[in-house]
Symmetry: C2
Subunit: 164 residues, 2 copies
């Protein structure tokens, strides 16, 4: 299961994989990333996001896109895996796990103590797989997101009265 860092020539295939994953997550209409966006993000001078690809017979069949998170308790970075996807016709051959294993090894090599990612609650095959690896659901926590109008209102607003 060869895994290697992505190169600029992989971008068209990586974007195709991103679109495939969004379709699986019923959100293809939300994909607005262009090839240029991905190149600018992944291959700029000091990238803050990274990609590895899984290949089969030289062809890109899977992608892992990740960045560094940070634990203030540990005072250390860790890896946050944003997207992990393998083409449906190439599943069951261990490509997904090979990418996870590669990232786990990067964590160990760098002294990072946490590899994290998030999972849709209805994606039971993925949940079973991740639990079988010993990953723990952080189910005491919920991620909140401000976007669009909320973000603009936050930036503009005066301090609301119910600030805890």
């Amino acid at each position: 299961m060869p895994i290697r860092p992505a190169i600029a020539g992989d971008i068209p295939q990586i974007l195709e994989l991103i679109r495939n994953l969004a379709e699986y997550e019923k959100a293809l209409h939300e994909v607005r990333a262009s090839e240029k966006d991905l190149i600018d993000s992944l291959f700029c001078q000091n990238p803050q996001v990274f990609a590895h690809v899984a290949t089969d017979d030289g062809q890109v069949v899977g992608v892992a896109i990740w960045y560094l998170n940070y634990s203030t308790w540990l005072g250390k970075h860790g890896i946050y895996l944003e997207d992990l996807f393998v083409l449906p016709q190439h599943r069951g051959s261990g490509h997904g796990f090979a990418m996870l294993r590669h990232l786990a090894q990067i964590c160990l090599d760098r002294g990072y103590e946490r590899l994290q990612w998030w999972v849709l609650d209805w994606n039971q095959p993925a949940i079973n797989f991740y639990k079988s690896l010993g990953a723990i659901p952080m189910d005491e926590w919920t991620v909140y997101r401000a976007t669009g109008d909320a973000l603009e209102k936050m930036a503009a607003a005066n301090s609301p009265a119910n600030n805890p």
Copy 2:
């Protein structure tokens, strides 16, 4: 509510705030970060984690520690707020919101479309506050974490049979 980027001289106070927050989250025993860890992370040549502080009368009374996340759908970075904390005796004056507002403004200035953070499900005052700002709970998703033995087993293991 003056907000400014943290400087190295703030580190002792920032570590104290991190310890205060961990205590509130009932996890003080998990804090292993040292002042050196924080300096190495925040003030290295290409930092991948950042801090802003809230001050009152020149004294640091709150901290926001954040890094860049990435949306493959948007092809853009966003901000992930890892820790937001204000000393209990300085709450209710808008310091927490001033830091959130500052980060929201950074998002708008840079064209980022998402500001995210996570919240303990029992922290109802915080949840009420964030919802009042228009933030949306991403409650279809759960974060999974591999650490310690699980991370080492992942790095070492052969591909398991139930790889989806």
